[in-house]
């Protein structure tokens, strides 16, 4: 048995199982931990395909940074327990079957179209020998990255700057909110409670009706087609 098969089966299975875990665990923290499993398994699959650099980066950037960010925000916001409505949904007996059906449906469709027997008509220049000659996967990649792919590489820095600037602006507390715990001033607290009451007035959403329109005013008999009538559907 080829060694790669072992890696494939082990990491592939853990990836799928952890991915399903992400979806099925009601508590976001558990989901995040499960996500680490999935990402690490993908890193393993990279390893199996001799993408050593990516495999390491995958662990460092994804599990080290992205998932930590998730966990950090979950902790910060204090949503470290399952939403009861969500829990209820996930416990429904039909749910796993529906989910499985969806996955097989989407996946099957994609595979049907692309065909299991994938055609790879072209052979590139980065054969295993060429990569070895460059000094290995890391060297070959870095060489490409800083020559041919220089411009995209530079653009990613712009992307990151834009994201940081935007993130800071959005998440920073406003001046008038400074110094009060979550940033709640009496004024804002009052506005929020009004909003929440307005939401409550709309009625709590049942897990199943999320896919139903709840209050679109049908008003089918109105003849004044052009002029002067409005229906109420505004902000909550």
């Amino acid at each position: 048995m080829s060694g790669e098969w072992i890696l494939y089966i082990v990491f592939g299975a853990t990836a799928l199982v952890s991915a399903i875990g992400v979806v099925f665990l009601a508590n976001p923290i558990h989901s995040a931990l499960s996500l680490i499993g999935a990402l690490a398994s993908v890193a393993g699959l990279f390893l199996a395909q001799e993408a050593f650099f990516l495999s390491v980066v995958q662990i460092i950037v994804y599990t080290g940074a992205v998932v930590v960010l998730f966990l950090f925000v979950i902790m910060l916001l204090g949503i470290d327990s399952a939403d009861p409505r969500e829990e209820q949904l996930l416990r429904r007996q039909w749910f796993p079957w529906a989910f499985l059906g969806g996955v097989i449906g989407v996946g099957g469709l994609v595979l049907t179209i692309t065909g299991i027997d994938l055609p790879f008509g072209v052979s590139g220049t980065d054969t295993a020998d060429a990569v070895n000659e460059a000094g290995g996967n890391v060297q070959a990649l870095s060489e490409r990255l800083f020559t041919d792919w220089l411009l995209p590489f530079e653009l990613t820095s712009i992307l990151v700057v834009a994201a940081i600037v935007g993130g800071v602006v959005l998440a920073k507390r406003t001046k008038d909110l400074r110094g009060s715990g979550m940033g709640l001033t009496p004024d804002l607290a009052e506005r929020i409670s009004e909003e929440v009451e307005a939401d409550a007035a709309e009625g709590e959403l049942d897990p199943e009706d999320a896919f139903e329109a709840d209050d679109v005013d049908p008003d089918p008999d109105s003849d004044a087609v052009l002029v002067g009538e409005t229906s109420e559907n505004g902000e909550g």
Partner: protein, 654 residues
């Protein structure tokens, strides 16, 4: 006037719409800042100046030799794409100058009248702004030198009329009438637009010159891309769809009667002088295309003459003066459409009748407005009567208008209607005589319903309550009516058989298609006599039945009267009932069926396009319920659809 001087003046013809446009802009933007008399003064003044300039242009055109009276001037090149270009400019020729005179002239008179009618309204200045915009749009329509400019005017006219009909939009009824007008016109415009596209696809241009050049080429003369017969028929029928919308012909006429909800000067301006005649103008202008397709001309003729008869039967059953006038307008427009449909001498006859109708229908509307002004908006004939003594001027002038529309000598209506009937009868086309027969019958009905209106309103007992204090209208309203009355008396001279000045004047436009001028022959005299007899018969019948109507009878007109042979002959009262059963009822039953079609099918189709669209929109909006997950589901659904397409397309690796 020297030739150069004349051409210099003609080059400035574009000033006429500009004056109206600028004044409309000023009046609309200033809105309330311009206090009551001044807004009106600016509005009326602008149209007055426009009229004067038009007269000067007309004089300049007349001073040129007849064969040089088609003057095209390109203002700028308007070039949307690559090889195709549009030279936006204007075209002054006998046809367009007549329409300009009509629009500015009658428009001016109606503007003066509005000074009295709209006085005191809170949106006084805005009203004049919109009226001026309307006049400007109509001028753009008739002045354009290509179909695109014409279409610009066509659309603007529709939008303005929509605004004006709904002017007093606080009444729900009005705004829904505005809607109806809008829908019907949209359906028509759609046909028109598709027609334009077809023209463009066929000829590759929308310039009148090029398109008609192609039409001539297909007839065997001149250079250009020939147009196949089938294409020509399709184009003509599509244009006809546009015409039925704008000129209120069957089946898209439904909006016009309801459009009466607007202020009376608006009714007069739209129904008498301008917008509704746009269809006649379009067919006259596009006559080389219609010359290509005999089938389409036959259809146009019968749509027109059919509408003339059909609308007349409806008019007979109406009790509100303005509604009678509205249906009468539809009916008269039918005559014009029939005339330009059959072609030949019909072109000149149609144009003749347009202006003739402009005079007498404006007069009748202003008379009705004067009546309503005096009676505080009451216009139901069952509650009028005997007004002649109180409002002698209005009654007399209304009578003049009535005689003219009924085709009584010597008023212009007699000459113009008989010109149309003559053109139908003498046309070489085989269907002409049938159309003539229907037209003659419609002429009888016209006289009948018109004088029914006159007698019920102005003669007999008073049927109004004591609370009404009718009075003669102010001079600012009477004088415009007087002017129009003079116009309708004298206009007949323009195209008397034998001299036929108008026919000759229009020759540069219509050329070989215009047919021969009429001579005083025995046949012509016979035809004229027949027309006159029919009119007189109608008036006489109306006199016998309605001239001495009492208050009770007026009120009972509307009620069901059991039919019986005994009661049939006893009194005039019963004749009325007989007419009720013999003419109005069958007409009503016939039109009842048609009216069901009217109210249900057409109305519903027309309104349904909007309503259905709206309903569909609401259903779709249900999906847009704010949930990200639903949105993502729709998104994924779209992806699956596309994937399915990929499979079906055979790209799949199956």
């Amino acid at each position: 006037m020297s030739k150069e001087a004349a051409e210099n003046i003609l080059e400035l013809a574009w000033i006429v719409p500009l004056i109206c446009l600028v004044s409309a802009g000023v009046l609309t933007t200033l809105g309330r800042k311009l206090k009551e008399p001044w807004g009106g003064v600016v509005g009326v003044g602008a149209v007055g100046v426009a009229f004067l300039v038009t007269v000067v242009v007309f004089a300049a055109l007349l001073s040129l030799p007849a064969d040089q009276r088609v003057f095209e001037h390109v203002l700028f090149e308007w070039i949307p794409a690559g090889g195709f270009r549009i030279e936006a400019g204007f075209l002054v020729d006998p046809l367009s100058i007549l329409w300009m005179l009509l629009v500015t002239g009658v428009g001016f008179v109606i503007h003066v009248y509005s000074l009295g009618y709209i006085a005191g309204d809170e949106r006084y200045t805005t009203f004049f702004g919109q009226m001026n915009l309307f006049v400007a749009s109509m001028l753009i329509l008739v002045l354009g030198n290509n179909f695109l400019v014409l279409f610009v005017g066509w659309e603007l006219v529709g939008a303005c009329s929509y605004l004006l009909i709904g002017f007093w939009f606080k009444k729900i009824e009005n705004s829904s009438a505005g809607n109806k007008a809008f829908f019907a016109n949209r359906v028509g415009d759609f046909g028109f637009l598709v027609g334009l596209m077809l023209i463009f696809a066929t000829v590759g241009s929308l310039d009148f010159d090029t398109v008609f050049g192609a039409a001539y080429a297909s007839l065997g003369g001149g250079a250009g891309v020939p147009i196949a017969l089938g294409t020509a028929t399709a184009i003509c029928l599509l244009l006809l769809v546009g015409v039925t919308g704008k000129s209120a012909q069957v089946p898209l006429y439904v909006w016009l009667a309801d459009a009466m909800a607007g202020p009376t000067p608006v009714s007069a301006l739209i129904h008498a002088a301008t917008m509704v005649t746009a269809g006649v103008y379009l067919i006259s202008r596009a006559h080389p295309l219609f010359a290509l397709s005999e089938v389409s001309r036959a259809i146009v003729t019968f749509v027109g003459i059919g509408t003339a008869f059909y609308a007349a039967t409806i008019a007979l059953g109406q009790y509100r003066v303005k509604r009678v006038l509205a249906y009468s307008t539809i009916s008269q427009l039918g005559y014009m459409i029939a005339a330009v449909g059959i072609g030949g001498a019909g072109y000149a006859a149609g144009v003749f009748h347009v202006i003739s109708h402009g005079f007498f229908k404006a007069l009748l509307f202003l008379g009705a407005g004067s009546l309503m002004h005096a009676m505080h908006g009451e216009e139901d004939m069952r509650r009028l009567g005997g007004l002649r003594k109180v409002m002698p001027w209005t009654a007399g002038l209304f009578l003049v208008g009535g005689l003219s529309i009924s085709g009584i000598i010597p008023f212009s209506g007699f000459w113009s209607k008989d010109a149309i009937l003559g053109a139908l009868y003498e046309s070489p086309e085989s269907w002409g005589k049938i159309a003539w027969g229907i037209g003659l019958a419609a002429a009888f009905l016209t006289a009948l319903y018109m004088f029914r209106t006159y007698f019920l309103t102005f003669t007999g007992d008073r049927s109004w309550g004591d609370e009404a204090h009718p009075h003669e209208s102010p001079w600012v309203m009477v004088i415009p009516m007087l002017v129009l009355a003079v116009g309708t008396t004298l206009w007949g001279l323009a195209d008397l058989p034998g001299s036929q000045w108008l026919h000759g004047f229009l020759e540069p436009t219509f050329g070989v298609f215009g047919g021969e001028a009429e001579r005083w022959t025995g046949e012509v005299v016979l035809l004229l006599t027949a027309g006159l007899l029919v009119g007189v018969l109608g008036v006489a019948t109306a006199y016998a039945v309605w001239s001495r109507a009492t208050r009770e009878r007026r009120i009972s007109f509307g009620e069901r009267i059991p039919a019986g042979a005994g009661m049939f002959w006893r009194k005039a009262y019963d004749v009325d009932a007989a007419l009720e059963y013999g003419v109005r009822r069958p007409g009503w039953e016939l039109t009842g069926v048609l009216a069901t079609v009217d109210e249900d099918a057409i109305d519903r189709t027309v309104m349904g396009i909007g309503g259905g669209a709206k309903r569909a929109g609401r259903q779709l909006a249900r999906l847009q319920n704010g949930s990200v997950r639903v949105y993502a589901s729709v998104f994924l659904g779209g992806v699956v659809l596309i994937a399915a397409y990929v499979i079906v397309r055979g790209g799949a690796g199956l």
